[in-house]
């Protein structure tokens, strides 16, 4: 299971007064555990192959969920691991589908995650790599030397989340204007809508409305 934000109450009301009476309810956070072996499908073969190549210490956790496998990787070993994943004939993940960032503010010590989806056309397999980095030191090695396609994807992740990809040839903003301040898709960045007046009533932007989650 992935990493969960701890939630209080039932209706997510944090700014307005809680009238539901569920304010003290704490939604439990599932334990962050590795999935036990065997993983099933082709996942065991990949994990075995990674162990054989000497990456057993590079993988912090392995999560198998909904028919997908996620390797939580230490950031120091990411580049090396990606190279092996691409070049090793038994693995051969020749296509990097994309890089996406996820911001988990509640996960102290690794708030920012870079998520890589790899595709092997040779073996018709998919895996996911996930690297968590602290907000104070958001550095990950760039995968551009291994997968040139990561170029724009990493720029986008930098633009939206502020993850710095070391070794990227030109890590500049890609979607936002160059002089933009902040990284807009982080959880601590407001959605930034304006209130709208409709028939005399003012409707706040979506992020300031009452929510139910």
């Amino acid at each position: 299971m992935s990493d969960i934000v701890q939630r209080r109450g039932m209706f997510g009301a944090s700014t307005t007064g809680d009238t539901s009476g569920y304010g003290r309810l704490v939604v439990p956070q599932p334990a962050r555990e590795s999935t036990p072996r065997p993983y099933g499908e082709y996942f065991d073969e990949i994990a075995d192959e990674l162990d054989r190549s000497g990456f057993s210490d590079a993988v912090e956790r392995v999560v198998v969920h909904r028919g997908e496998i996620t390797f939580h990787v230490k950031r120091e070993r990411l580049l090396e691991l990606a190279r092996t994943l691409r070049d090793e004939p038994a693995l051969r993940f020749e296509l990097l589908s994309g890089v996406s960032g996820v911001h988990y503010p509640a996960e102290t010590g690794s708030e920012l995650h870079a998520v890589y989806h790899l595709l092997s056309i040779t073996h018709n397999r998919r895996i996911r790599l996930e690297v968590g980095v602290p907000d104070a030191d958001p550095h990950v090695d760039s995968l551009v030397p291994v997968y040139p396609t990561a170029d724009w994807h990493e720029r986008e992740t930098w633009d939206f989340f502020g993850i710095v990809f070391d070794g990227h040839p030109a890590l500049t903003r890609i979607e936002m204007p160059d002089d933009w301040v902040g990284h807009p898709q982080r959880k601590d960045y407001p959605l930034g809508g304006i209130p709208v007046e409709y028939r005399g009533a003012e409707i706040p932007p979506p992020d300031e409305r009452r929510s139910y989650s």
Binding site: M1, S2, I4, V5, R7, G12, V27, P30, H65, R66, G67, E68, T70, E94, L95, L96, S97, G98, S100, G101, V102, H103, V115, H117, L119, I121, N124, R126, R128, Y147, P148, T149, D151, W152, H153, E156, A170, R173, I174, E175, M176, P177, D178, P184, Q185, L191, P206, D207, S211, Y212, S213
Partner: protein, 452 residues
């Protein structure tokens, strides 16, 4: 062509263009250049800013071309002029409302955006196997129709950009007929939000099958005409053959998928290799070309449209007889299936009168349930899922993260246009400036998908 505040000017010093004297032009001050050219102290390289608003029909794409005469020395691509923040907006809406947002990403392929998103949500819910058969057939039907309409626009705008208005008019009128079907089935021409987590919003209307049959009768002849117009047209061949070469190695390195990849000879199509929505039960072929050029990509698209028509035919067959003839189009689970009951009214899609009668007049529980589902939405178990489908442009995938709430924690779309557009430099550098347009058009990027 327009010039704007140029963030790339500073970066322009790293190529030779800025070593000699530099002239910056914004339209009318040519005297300075003429004076400068007299000195002879000038490099012949010319940096041209193309876009973001320009006559070619591929959206707000900005290209910064460094030219040496007619030859392109360097291409830099500037994107982000259509960044809409859709991914962030989806975090503030319920799971079902998300379809309304993601359908507006790649606006030529709205059904694909919705389906990728819904498949990911269904994966997280663990209900992939419980989607009704009829819903899956309708999804496939809609996707293939959408593939046809998208490829038609690709070919039409491509013709327009090369200067052939006839191609554009032909492509767009056929697209109109496809959009008529969309309108008949979903109530909308574009941005339908028709595919929802759990199935599709509503069943086909009474006239849909007859219209589909008419369409199936009409289109093969029309495709033949388009092929007659283009396949061996000497001008078209001159503009497309051996232009924008990108081989398999390049495609792999740059993560290219879709028709561009298939024009290198690799029959990689997610509908065949990692089937979804029951594609493994349909009879169709994956067409490839070996030429790695613009013409090859055109032929792949043309062949794909013909294959799509075959699939549409099979869908119509299944929708009229067999196990998918009738039955629900939304998952039976009442906790997920929203919209519960929809119908097409004169002003588009909305709640059906029968459903309103039921919740308002007959059942208090139904009313409460309806209220909860509409205001709060359903909860999706925590975790993350990645669902990839074959969109007209390549692998379109949704990476969906849930924290167990009624709204997505994060949604990211891996859009094929975004990835494929990176190949522009690889395709164009060293070619003529006129071929840049052909190269970009053969990638068929949709800026709504690129910038999201």
């Amino acid at each position: 062509m327009t010039t704007t505040y140029d963030a790339y000017k500073a970066g322009a010093t790293d190529d030779g263009a800025a070593e000699g004297r530099v002239f910056n032009l914004a339209g009318s001050d040519w005297d300075e250049v003429v004076e400068g050219a007299k000195d002879g102290d000038t490099d012949e390289r010319l940096v041209v800013n193309m876009g973001p608003q320009h006559p070619s029909t591929h959206g707000v794409l900005r290209l910064i071309l460094t030219l040496d005469g007619e030859t392109v020395e360097k291409v830099q691509v500037g994107i982000g002029y259509l960044h809409t923040g859709i991914e962030k907006n989806m975090e503030f809406r319920t799971w079902t409302q998300g379809t309304t947002f993601c359908t507006r990403m790649d606006y030529l392929a709205p059904i694909f955006n919705e389906t990728a998103y819904c498949l990911a949500v269904e994966k997280l819910l663990g209900v992939t196997d419980r989607i009704p058969e009829r819903a899956n057939v309708i999804r496939v039907l809609m996707m293939e129709l959408n593939r046809i309409s998208s490829h038609l626009v690709a070919i039409a705008t491509f013709g327009l950009e090369l200067g052939a208005t006839t191609v554009m008019l032909n492509g767009f009128i056929e697209r109109e007929y496809t959009l008529d079907l969309f309108e008949e089935i979903t109530g909308l021409r574009m941005n339908m939000a028709y595919v929802r987590p759990g199935g599709v919003a509503q069943d086909l209307g009474p006239a849909a099958i007859a219209k589909l049959r008419d369409y199936l009768k009409r289109m093969p002849e029309r495709f033949k005409q388009m092929r007659k117009l283009l396949d061996a047209n000497p001008i078209y061949l001159a503009r497309t053959k051996d232009i924008a070469y990108l081989d398999l190695t390049g495609c792999m390195a740059l993560g290219i998928t879709g028709p561009v990849l298939r024009s290198t000879g690799l029959p990689w199509d997610l509908r065949k290799s990692q089937p979804y929505c029951g594609y493994e039960t349909y009879d169709f072929q994956v067409h490839t070309q070996e030429s790695c050029d613009v013409y090859g990509r055109y032929l792949v698209r043309m062949a794909e449209m013909e294959e799509s028509l075959k699939i549409v035919e099979q869908c119509v067959e299944r929708l009229t007889k067999g196990s998918a003839k009738d039955g629900p189009v939304m998952i039976e689970d009442k906790k997920i299936g929203w919209p519960a009951q929809l119908a097409i009214g004169t002003d588009g899609m909305g709640n059906s009168p029968a459903h309103i009668g039921h919740i308002m007049g007959e059942s208090m529980e139904a009313l409460i349930h309806h209220f909860k589902l509409v205001t709060e939405g359903f909860r999706v178990p925590a975790g993350q899922a990645y669902a990839a489908i074959e969109s007209p442009r390549g692998e379109l995938a949704a990476h969906v993260v849930s924290d167990g709430g009624t709204r997505p924690f994060r949604v990211h779309f891996r859009d094929p246009s975004f990835t494929n557009l990176q190949a522009t430099a690889a395709m164009c550098e060293g070619s003529f400036v006129a071929d840049v347009i052909a190269a970009v058009a053969s990638i068929d990027p949709v800026m709504g998908g690129v910038d999201r």
